[in-house]
């Protein structure tokens, strides 16, 4: 098998607050192959964004800390690098796109300066070469009249156009891995369709792998090759995308799919949506068994007492549940 671009093993990231320790990510392992699109899906607080921040080492200082595991990228464990080495990788070999393009762009620099900055720092290009790249990247993300618009400031762009600028910055150094955290969540649905289409097209051209973090199973179904479902800081299921939607095994994954109002077009939705009773657990309290057990319709006494291991079948379908087998 091809060497993965990214190999995350037993990642543990905790947040240290006055109220105690929150186990935001609690023993997560996965890999991404070159050129692959891997989705991480889950609801608020499941640890999907913290996973992204842990890989990029951008956790809020003094609050969150990766306390265990390894993140292997390009043959090195990112957790052992010093800050200067990490800065050389971030924005160059690993790029990122976040949910809110307005807060991730610098409002007092033109978008051209922001793209050129990344190119000059990481690729030691001259200023004129970097500006040429900036205009080229804006054309690539289909911003009309790119040669003129490199001189515009972020506030002169619409939300969808800003997200295109973010993608232009992210791809300007031809990264091997693009981490996209809810890249289309703040956008209207017709604009979301444009951005997703653009990301997939450019991925093919640049050959980057994508780690796509989202709460939206629809976005996952349309874009990813493989999917991880997270719950309470842990991976509960992982499978190739068609396999996951055909044969969801974990009761949480099934619950998520049942609670989507519009599952398939042309099939009249049932009158009542399937609910997952209760709410996500408090991650400050250590969980002895399966974290989903209190909300699970199939839970047995064993589920509350003993954490189920991840089991894997030949197709690569993994599930962590005592009551389901891959």
């Amino acid at each position: 098998m091809e060497e993965p671009v990214l190999d995350v093993r037993d990642l543990r990231t905790h947040f240290f607050t006055q109220d105690g320790v929150t186990r935001a990510v609690d023993g997560l392992s996965f890999t991404i192959a070159p050129g692959e699109t891997l989705g991480i899906v889950g609801e608020s607080g499941c640890g999907k964004s913290v996973t992204a921040l842990s890989i990029l080492r951008l956790l809020p200082a003094g609050l969150g800390r990766t306390v265990g595991g390894s993140i292997t990228f390009g043959g090195r464990d990112l957790l052992t690098l010093d800050e200067a080495e990490m800065r050389r990788i971030r924005g160059d070999r690993i790029a990122m796109v976040f949910q809110e393009p307005m807060t991730s762009l610098n409002p007092v620099l033109t978008v051209g300066e922001q793209i050129a900055e990344a190119v000059m720092i990481h690729q030691s290009k001259s200023k004129s070469e970097a500006w040429a790249r900036a205009a080229e990247m804006l054309t690539l993300v289909r911003i009309p009249d790119a040669a003129r618009r490199v001189h515009d400031y972020p506030h002169q762009f619409s939300g969808g156009m800003r997200q295109r600028v973010m993608i232009a910055i992210a791809l300007s150094c031809h990264p091997q891995l693009l981490i996209a955290d809810e890249p289309t969540t703040a956008l209207d649905v017709t604009i979301q369709a444009q951005i997703l289409k653009l990301m997939l097209e450019l991925k093919g051209r640049i050959g980057a792998a994508i780690l796509l973090i989202t709460h939206d199973l629809g976005v996952v179904a349309e874009t990813c090759q493989r999917v991880i479902v997270m719950y309470a800081g842990r991976k509960v299921e992982e499978a190739p995308v068609e396999e996951l939607f055909d044969r969801p095994l974990h009761p949480y994954t099934r619950g998520l799919m049942g609670s989507i109002p519009r599952h398939r077009p042309g099939i009249a939705p049932s009158r009542r949506l399937q609910e997952i009773p209760g709410i996500v657990p408090n991650l400050r309290a250590p969980v002895a068994g399966c974290a989903f057990a209190p909300r699970c319709p199939q839970a047995t006494p064993r589920c509350a007492a003993e954490a189920p291991p991840l089991r894997r079948d030949a197709t690569g379908h993994e599930v962590s549940c005592w009551e389901a087998s891959p």
Partner: protein, 322 residues
């Protein structure tokens, strides 16, 4: 047919844009431009559209939280368009609202019991003991435990807070609830809980909903009829089944095609609309959608199409639909 709970005609809201020292009006945002609709008792009408299409403004105008620029608003047969605060008061109890953000719409310094009892107190309904009893019944109905009464809003999760907002809206037994993106901030599993609750309540109490949402999936689930808005105007309105089975307006078609489907085998060559939403400050002449419309003809650029009924209850504003 019974009298509609709400009927609006030609509803319009223009916001002046003022600039400079003299605050001269330099432009007009045409947030809502000639919207006509009505909702029957026990019916859910969904308003769907993208940001800035004016769907929330319609909700606020109907509840008179904002004064309309033109048009009329009838609540249960009474013209309330120009009523003053005192005259409006008896009508308000029949039309309540549930907001998107359940946190900023609940007073953090009041206990839940006080928040839910406040509408009853305002209208002098029941004595103190009666109110407490009613609040307990309401909290129970929306699925919260009775001890919630003594707690504060911040002690609840997002979904539970939305249940509180619903309990408060129900307190005066309204005939109409305007729900503005009421489930948009919730995780999908919790969203399902709240949608089921809203539908059960409608069945029990014959409440009409004006359900404002950007999410077609949610709209398809909860709506009886759907109105699609684009830049301040309704471009298509139809019973749910007709709208999803045979969407007529090119914008409706694009909107339905753009919504991601949770089925990897359904990945398709979809219509992806080019371009951005134009600003409602200078809406395009003619049909407002013509700048993004894949099938626009010359006539669309000069002449605004009117909303005309094509089949039973299915109206569309498009020159290309004969």
């Amino acid at each position: 047919m019974s009298e509609p709970v709400v009927a609006v005609s030609g509803l319009t809201k223009h916001f002046p844009v003022r600039r400079g020292f003299l605050q001269r009006q330099v432009a007009t945002v045409r947030a809502v431009d000639g919207v006509t609709l009505s909702i029957a008792p026990g019916e859910t009408l969904c308003l769907v559209g993208e940001s800035g299409c004016g769907k929330s403004t319609v909700g606020r105008l109907i509840l008179r939280l904002m004064q309309s620029t033109a048009g009329t608003i009838h609540l249960r047969g009474t013209d309330v368009t120009h009523l003053g605060d005192a005259a409006m008061r008896p009508h308000r109890r029949h039309a309540q609202m549930v907001f998107q953000d359940p946190y900023s719409s609940l007073n953090p310094r009041l206990t839940v019991g006080t928040i839910v009892a406040e509408p009853l107190e305002n209208y002098g309904d029941l004595n103190a003991a009666g109110r407490t009893e009613k609040v307990a019944a309401l909290l129970d109905r929306v699925g919260l435990r009775a001890d919630a009464m003594r707690r504060y809003a911040f002690e609840f999760s997002g979904g539970q807070r939305q249940r509180l907002g619903i309990a408060r809206a129900l307190a005066l037994d309204p005939g109409l609830i305007v729900a503005d993106e009421a489930v948009s901030a919730l995780d999908v599993s919790v969203q399902a809980q709240v949608l089921n609750l809203l539908m059960d309540l409608q069945e029990e109490r014959n409440i009409a909903y004006l359900f404002i949402s950007h999410d077609l999936g949610v709209v398809e689930h909860i709506g009886h009829r759907i109105a699609v808005m684009y830049l301040g105007e309704i471009v298509e309105i139809a019973p749910k089944s007709a709208l999803f089975a045979t969407p007529l307006h090119p914008y409706t078609q694009a909107l339905i095609a753009a919504a991601p489907i949770a089925d990897p085998r359904a990945r398709s060559e979809r219509i992806v609309l080019e371009g951005d939403l134009p600003s409602p400050m200078n809406p395009p002449a003619g049909c407002r959608f013509h700048t993004r419309c894949p099938v626009a003809i010359a006539r669309c650029r000069s002449e605004a199409p009117v909303l005309r009924v094509r089949h039973e209850g299915h109206a569309v504003a498009c020159h290309l639909i004969g």
